[in-house]
């Protein structure tokens, strides 16, 4: 018996996306705001459904598609991220003019792609989900039609993305060639029998590289700053939090289910990559003068921290991956939301534009400061608890040096995060008028603030949730 109702979230999001697309044709231009409300309410309903069915698990099509608590955790993450982005972009969408409604449907399709990715138990399914997400993002990135940077970012993302897809597919085909299956569990069984083959190793490395693009691991990170800076800010936020989390989700599932470290040792490679990512991300973030670009480099560094948890590959490390990814959603969405507010008010996201924000918009400035501190890992914010899990997992797994690099670089990161805070509170602005803050943005900021502080002060519930989600890998 297959519980098709557990596929309800995917089906609902797909139908919603098509409905919004149809709605954009039928509704007059002034009625298109209704589509935004429809999308938001729809996402909220789906989120609720996922929460209510969190512990229900089912396997579809002989392991090709798996709804388990791990998938549900990430579905929860994507849906809440999408919801927050919908809220924070309520004003920013004004910059899109007539094209507002397609924006909603592409957001939905990107979300659908991610949901498919995390539930996929098969390489082809992963690829389908990944492409659905990525192609939606190509379009979303170039969404500011009259903005040169946005168009450039879209094209660059398309080119590099196509290349990464090619690498990923090549890797997948090698794996298929060596194991004779595309289903993770079957690959594992096939590999148990056979010996270590160079083609298989090459396949795994290429697949890691292909997914490495999505999570922007050094040296596959080069596209990140340009695309993050050029894309519309809500897209950047979604790219940074959800697309990255999806990449991690898939990477963790493939590596631990199909190629557990007992059979193949990919840990050291990942450990070196994680260290490089943390170091290069943080160091390059230091001299940036554009906040969006700074956040792009910061997101590279954050990917490095999350990778540390995967390297550890023990319960604490994996819990840390999930925990950190979730806290990262709230902190990063808030940071980008405030950046978007500034961008709408000032026309750009340069550091100087943040000058005096502490007086012109006290609440967003405070939220931004707190969320940046959370990203830096300062207690009692959520980022601290997340890093604690990640690094203690790494130490337990014997990667003391990696944890040390992580801690050292976290300290350095405080510098560039506080740079923004300094501009907001000490910087002098020629303007003293209040910055307008629409109600949905305000709500999004409040949610992010509460999330960041609550998960930091009382990490217990989220920690239990992540523990349930990673039970899947406890055999590893």
């Amino acid at each position: 018996m297959m519980y098709y109702q557990l596929l309800g979230p995917e089906i609902t999001v797909a139908v919603l996306g098509l409905l919004v697309l149809a709605g954009s044709l039928l509704l007059p231009s002034h009625g298109k705001n209704a589509l935004g409300y429809l999308t938001t309410i729809g996402l909220a309903a789906v989120l609720l459904a996922v929460i209510l069915n969190f512990s229900r698990e089912a396997i579809f099509f002989a392991g090709v598609y798996q709804i388990d608590m791990y998938a549900n955790f990430f579905r929860l993450l994507f849906l809440s991220a999408a919801l927050l982005i919908m809220l924070m972009s309520s004003r920013y969408t004004g910059l899109f003019g007539e094209r507002k409604s397609e924006w909603f449907s592409f957001m939905l399709f990107a979300t659908l792609g991610m949901m498919i990715m995390v539930a996929a138990g098969d390489l082809i399914m992963v690829y389908v989900g990944l492409e659905l997400m990525t192609i939606s993002f190509y379009i979303l990135t170039a969404y500011l039609l009259n903005d040169r940077w946005s168009a450039e970012a879209g094209l660059k993302y398309l080119l590099i993305g196509a290349m990464s897809s090619a690498v990923l597919l090549f890797g997948m085909s090698l794996i298929y060639a060596c194991s004779g299956s595309t289903v993770f569990t079957e690959i594992y069984q096939a590999l148990l029998a056979g010996s270590e083959r160079p083609a298989l190793l090459a396949g795994i490395v290429m697949m890691m590289a292909g997914l490495g693009f999505k999570i922007s691991v050094v040296p596959f990170h080069m596209w990140t700053p340009d695309i993050y800076q050029g894309a519309p800010t809500p897209v950047t936020a979604y790219l940074a939090v959800a697309s990255k989390a999806a990449g991690f989700a898939v990477l963790v599932r493939i590596l631990l289910i199909a190629f557990p470290p007992t059979s193949l040792d990919w840990k050291l490679i990942l450990a070196v990559l994680a260290a490089l990512t943390i170091i290069i991300g943080n160091l390059t973030a230091l001299p940036q003068t554009n906040v969006k670009r700074m956040l792009a480099y910061s997101s590279i560094a954050q990917a490095g921290y999350i990778l540390v948890g995967l390297v550890a590959a023990n319960t604490y490390g994996l819990k840390g991956v999930l925990f950190y990814a979730m806290t990262y959603v709230f902190a990063n969405v808030a940071a980008f939301a405030v950046t978007a507010v500034v961008e709408v008010a000032e026309g750009n996201a340069e550091l100087e534009s943040f000058n005096g924000l502490g007086r012109r918009a006290p609440m967003p400035a405070a939220v931004m400061t707190i969320c940046l501190l959370s990203l830096a890992g300062i207690p009692p914010m959520a980022g601290f608890a997340g890093k604690l899990y990640l690094f203690s997992g790494a130490i337990q797994g014997g990667y003391l040096w990696l944890a040390f690099i992580g801690l050292l670089m976290s300290m350095i990161s405080v510098y560039y995060y506080l740079h923004v805070a300094k501009a907001m509170y000490i910087g002098i602005s020629s303007r003293e008028d209040r910055v307008l803050l629409p109600v949905p943005v305000r709500i999004a900021l409040w949610i992010c603030l509460l999330g960041t502080i609550l998960m930091g002060v009382y990490p217990g519930p989220l920690s239990e949730l992540t523990e349930l989600a990673v039970q899947l890998f406890s055999a590893v």
Partner: protein, 626 residues
């Protein structure tokens, strides 16, 4: 059934005031009236719940306790819980804190009328109440430390509430810094506990410690833990902050710096009595520090002229009394005195506040006089409070003070018993010196004084009633119910000793009589006494020059140390830091050139990276080939 529900909802007691704080801070701060209402409503409900809990606890067997906890944080090698522990000790503290906090907040409605910062005042009051309640309900040392720091922060905020005054600012900083010294030791003690025993939970520790006989470890732990009470309960040598803390609004002094927060140290000793009682040396230290503080503060109080400062030194002295009780092993007596003291000292401060309010901020007792006719309620409630403090039977203070003296005497600490009796005499003397000068005597520039509004006198009357009646639960008439519930395993309750009762009552009466002779009847000239022992008078007046000594210490050691450290900092640390920062910054600037905006160069980097990775993984294959 209902009662069990009360226990499960007991976490609301500290949470409600915190909620009130958040509500005021976020939404209500523009409307002071609503802020006050919100704050009072929260503490009111907490009070109600505390009463229900007290009914449940004291209606049952003495050994009953209720504990619940949630896992807060789990790390390899570290498990931290957040929990609630309700036993008779907690129940008593809950009642005391919520009662006094509620009355003080109602009183503040009148006292703070028209102050521009009323909303934040009530917000601070709420967060203080929440933290203090959280402190007494904590089930482990980690949690107690968090709330310990929070009440310290509230104390800082409220001492410096009128931050426009430099003296208030200085006092706030002094209180905070002095407390840090104590808290540092306290934290070290907690860290030692977790290293040695692996848990911070009271119940688990209490089970482990009796079987742990390594005094070389327990003694430092006990002494370090005692640092906390020394700071918070203002024991010698960290007592200097409490008198200065009187810069805060008087209701604050009543609540935080007399009734509740400063008693937290005593509560902590009671809570951790299972540790202290294992280490006789630590107990002796506690007894001596407490006794010394009691005497020191009482002598200083003899000559002060500021109404609040007299009360502050009296508080110091009484806290010393409680700590001494703990040290001589009379934990029950110490807690009993804490409870009665909270009521009558809260009353004394609030009554003093009523006087100050009527005289528009005048605090010098020599400029008062003859207030009895103009402010009858304030005067008579003050007198009741003073009688209770002096230990006149059958008021509350008599029973609790008697218990302490009995504990010291029966425990074999005859010296401390004599010291305690002497302090009792002095207490009666300085309190009635204050009363005869300020409330009776000739009016000096206090003509326009008038009785305070009912919102202020109401709490005074309630507290006066409590000051009269609160002692009976520990009296032999009621079979010493208090001692049945608040006790330590194996504690002996000493039989009532009528001689001690009689002696202490007579000493108190003698003190009052002497004060009457000197200041009311003026049979003995105070001026003559002063001239007879000028050195003693100046030592008392200048508080034994402790502040000056600390200033000198700071000048000699801290300043010299700072100069050395400054050099190290500037020359060595700064150089290293700047060098490191330069290195990081320049490597960042170099690295950013790699990202040059050319999509084809990104592609090349990607391919190079991929090839390198493949080469690393497949190196065995390559070596075979080559």
């Amino acid at each position: 059934m209902l009662i069990q529900d009360v226990m499960t909802f007991s976490w609301l007691i500290p949470v409600l005031p915190f909620l009130a704080f958040a509500l005021i801070g976020l939404f209500l701060h523009r409307w002071p009236k609503w802020s006050a209402a919100c704050s009072i409503a929260a503490i009111g409900v907490s009070f109600f719940l505390s009463v229900l809990i007290a009914v449940e606890i004291f209606g049952g067997d003495p050994g009953r306790a209720f504990e619940m906890s949630v896992r807060w944080l789990e790390m390899p090698g570290l498990k931290v819980d957040m929990g609630i522990l309700i036993d008779p000790l907690t129940a008593v503290m809950l009642l005391v804190v919520t009662t006094v906090a509620l009355l003080v907040q109602i009183y503040s409605l009148g006292y703070m009328e028209g102050d521009p910062g009323r909303a934040s005042y009530f917000a601070y009051q709420s967060i203080f109440a929440g933290s203090m309640l959280g402190l007494v309900m904590a089930s482990n040392f980690g949690q107690i430390f968090v709330f310990w720091e929070l009440v310290g922060m509230c104390s800082y905020l409220l001492i410096g509430f009128w931050f426009g005054r430099p003296s208030a600012r200085d006092a706030a900083i002094k209180a905070f810094v002095t407390n840090r010294i104590g808290d540092f030791g306290f934290l070290l003690g907690i860290l030692f506990l977790i290293i040695v025993f692996g848990t911070l939970n009271f119940g688990e520790l209490a089970a482990l410690i009796p079987d742990y006989h390594n005094l070389a470890v327990l003694l430092p732990i006990a002494v370090l833990l005692f640092f906390g009470p020394v700071g918070k309960s203002a024991q010698f040598p960290l007592h200097v902050w409490l008198p200065d803390a009187m810069e805060g609004p008087t209701p604050v002094s009543a609540l935080i710096h007399a009734a509740t927060m400063v008693a937290a140290g005593v509560y902590l000793i009671a809570r951790a009595f299972f540790i202290f009682s294992q280490v006789p040396q630590a107990m002796l230290l506690i007894a001596l520090v407490g006794g010394f503080t009691a005497l020191l503060a009482a002598t200083i109080a003899l000559v002060q002229n500021d109404i609040k400062r007299i009360l502050a030194y009296s508080t110091l002295s009484q806290l010393g009394y409680m700590v001494m009780a703990m040290g001589v092993g009379a934990m029950t007596a110490g807690m009993f005195h804490l409870r009665t003291h909270a009521f009558f000292k809260g009353l004394l401060f609030l009554a003093a506040g009523s006087v100050i309010h009527a005289l528009h901020g005048e605090q010098d007792i020599w400029k008062m006089g003859g207030l009895a006719k103009k402010m009858p309620i304030t005067t008579w409630t003050f007198v009741i409070g003073a009688l209770a403090l002096a230990g006149i039977p059958p008021l509350a203070g008599f029973w609790s003070k008697d218990e302490i003296l009995l504990g010291a005497f029966a425990g074999g600490y005859t010296g401390l018993y004599l010291l305690g009796s002497l302090v009792a005499f002095m207490t009666a003397f300085y309190m009635f010196r204050l009363i005869f000068i300020a409330f009776f005597g000739v009016s000096k520039g206090a003509e326009q004084a008038h009785e305070s509004p009912p919102v202020m006198t109401g709490p005074l009357v309630i507290l006066a009633a409590l000051s009269i009646g609160a002692g009976f639960v520990g009296s032999p008439w009621m079979g010493n119910v208090f001692g049945l519930y608040i006790s330590t395993p194996g504690a002996v309750h000493h039989p009532v000793n009528p001689t001690i009762m009689a002696v202490s009552s007579l000493l108190a009466l003698a003190g009052i009589g002497l004060a009457w002779l000197i200041y009311q009847k003026q049979a003995v000239s105070a001026e003559k006494l002063r001239q007879r022992w000028p050195a003693l008078y100046h030592v008392f007046l200048n508080k034994y020059y402790v502040d000056e000594f600390y200033a000198w210490l700071g000048k000699v050691f801290v300043d010299a140390g700072a100069r050395v450290l400054e050099w190290v900092d500037l020359k060595i640390i700064n150089g290293a830091v700047n060098g490191l920062a330069y290195l990081t910054g320049s490597s960042g600037r170099t690295l950013r050139y790699a990202v040059n905006g050319q999509v084809q160069s990104y592609a090349i980097w990607v391919m190079v990276g991929l090839v390198l990775l493949l080469a690393t993984v497949l190196k065995t294959v390559f070596t075979v080939l080559v």
